[in-house]
């Protein structure tokens, strides 16, 4: 493992904390990620099936909260930034390449299927839990939101609970 290439985790955490603090000070809100997926999904449904979007409660609520412009959302802009920032970082540290990362013990097919299932569960869970690791757990922890911290413990606790059953995917 070539870990020396990565930043010291405490330093990275400290910088991330300062960024989060600055974000809260400037914008009054924290960081996020899954909300951008939601914006994208609502925008797609509105384009593909406008009548469904105007009828089904989930989309209707979201559209009315966003002046019928689901992509004009803070998190959409933030996630575009994440893509740019991560790309720059990969470029600087020479980590840009197309790879399917997996444990040598599993096939590519297994990795693809588990990535999709994992994403599906995370996407679903983040909607139910009103935020993901960034929006609920990290940002919620910073403002000491009870709900955010419960979600954080549930995410990490849940992952530890289920980790044993999926160990063959990783180790």
């Amino acid at each position: 493992m070539n870990e020396t290439k990565y930043m010291n985790p405490y330093l990275a955490g400290f910088l991330l904390g300062l960024l989060l603090l600055a974000t809260i000070f400037i914008t009054g809100r924290g960081l996020g990620a899954s909300g951008a997926v939601k914006s994208g999904v609502v925008a797609a449904v509105e384009t593909v099936a406008p009548s469904h979007a105007s009828e089904a409660k989930f989309y209707k609520e979201y559209l009315s909260e966003h002046d019928n412009n689901p992509l004009k959302n803070w998190l959409v802009f933030e996630v575009i930034g994440v893509l740019i920032g991560a790309f720059i970082s990969g470029l600087v540290s020479n980590r840009l390449n197309w790879t399917l990362e997996k444990s040598p013990k599993v096939t590519s097919k297994v990795r693809i299927v588990t990535a999709i299932i994992g994403g599906l569960l995370f996407g679903f869970g983040a909607q139910l839990g009103r935020g993901c690791t960034s929006g609920a757990a990290l940002s919620g922890m910073a403002v000491l939101s009870f709900g955010g911290i419960i979600t954080m413990f549930a995410i990490f606790g849940g992952a530890y609970m289920f980790a044993y059953f999926f160990r063959k995917l990783w180790i």
């Binding site: 020396t4 405490y10 920032g85 996407g123 839990g129």
Partner: protein, 396 residues
Amino acid sequence: MGPLVPDVIGNELNFVVALFVGIAFGYILEQAGFSTSKKLVGLFYGYDFTVLRVFFTAGITAMIGLVIFAFLGLIDLNLIYVNPTFLYSALVGGFIMGLGFVIGGFCPGTSFCAAAIGKIDAIYFIGGSVIGVLLFGELYPMLYGLYTAENWGLVTVYDLLGTSHAVVAFSFAIMAAGAFWFTRWVELRVNNGATSKEHPLKLYYAVVSILFVMGLSAFLMPSKQNAVLDKANNPEEINSVRLNYITSDELAFRLMDNDNNLQIIDFRPIKEFSEMSLPRSIPMKFKELFGKDALKTIAVKKKLTVFVAADEKDEKKASVIASELGFENVRVLQGGMAAFKSQILNYQAPPEMKTQQEKDTARFRAKASIEVAELIKNNKKAPIEKKKSKRIIGGC
């Protein structure tokens, strides 16, 4: 005073801020190694606790930073987004996310980060999360009960425990330090001592010590708000505060004159305010003087701000706070609302008037008692809407 949105930074500019915040976020995550699923799930199998280190250091840094900002009066915590607590959906949603984490190897933020540098598994993960959101959207009516059950509102841990913000933040910092030590120990065992040399940097120790001292001072010393409130409850301070009075007659005159620059801040209990309030007045509690709304209302140059309370004692208390906060151009109603009532609203002319001045005053007050009562009555029909900054909506 923060947050800077929407007053200093407009809502449109905020999207530009979002882009730059995102760039920094993505850069830091990638530099920390969050673009590889193997590293991310490491903490669940004990071979790599990078995620835990980065995550908790970030959370604690921001948490203590907010304690310090609030302590210095730099941010109005009532305006920042606090994730609402819906107990069951937070727990069930969290467990589902945890399951997704060990199966998929990413979380949404890190999957974007990994996809940006070409990780194909991350792109599939994002595809999966799109399906997950879509599935939730379609099942939303069915899940609505679970989604909205046990709504505790915007509750913080320190509200819930009834302790101070700083105490909770420090407890979390100590918990995190314990977790760092313990996971280091686990990691060494799992990797048979051949683990990476990721000791905290010396710089990090230095910065943490500074923050710790600053935080400790926030913990030990009363915050600016509490210090000022203590001062406002000190009889000596109350009696020595310099007051700029406005008489009942002048206030009545300005009300009748429909003076646009006049604004009255009423510190009486809200119940009394709703029973009877003067035109151009807004209710306020002493504590609200520290908020961003008070700053926006009182620190306006051309306005004439008048503090009103039941009696002068409460007006003096508010004046102590206002002068500590640097508010100028504040006048207080002489004798408080009690005097205004006896001199204007319920005015009874004295049986004997000798001088011309006494007669003029009596004539004015007799006229004012009718006109101001009329103004109060009309005002009740059309209450001035209280300018109140809304809490920012955030979250995912």
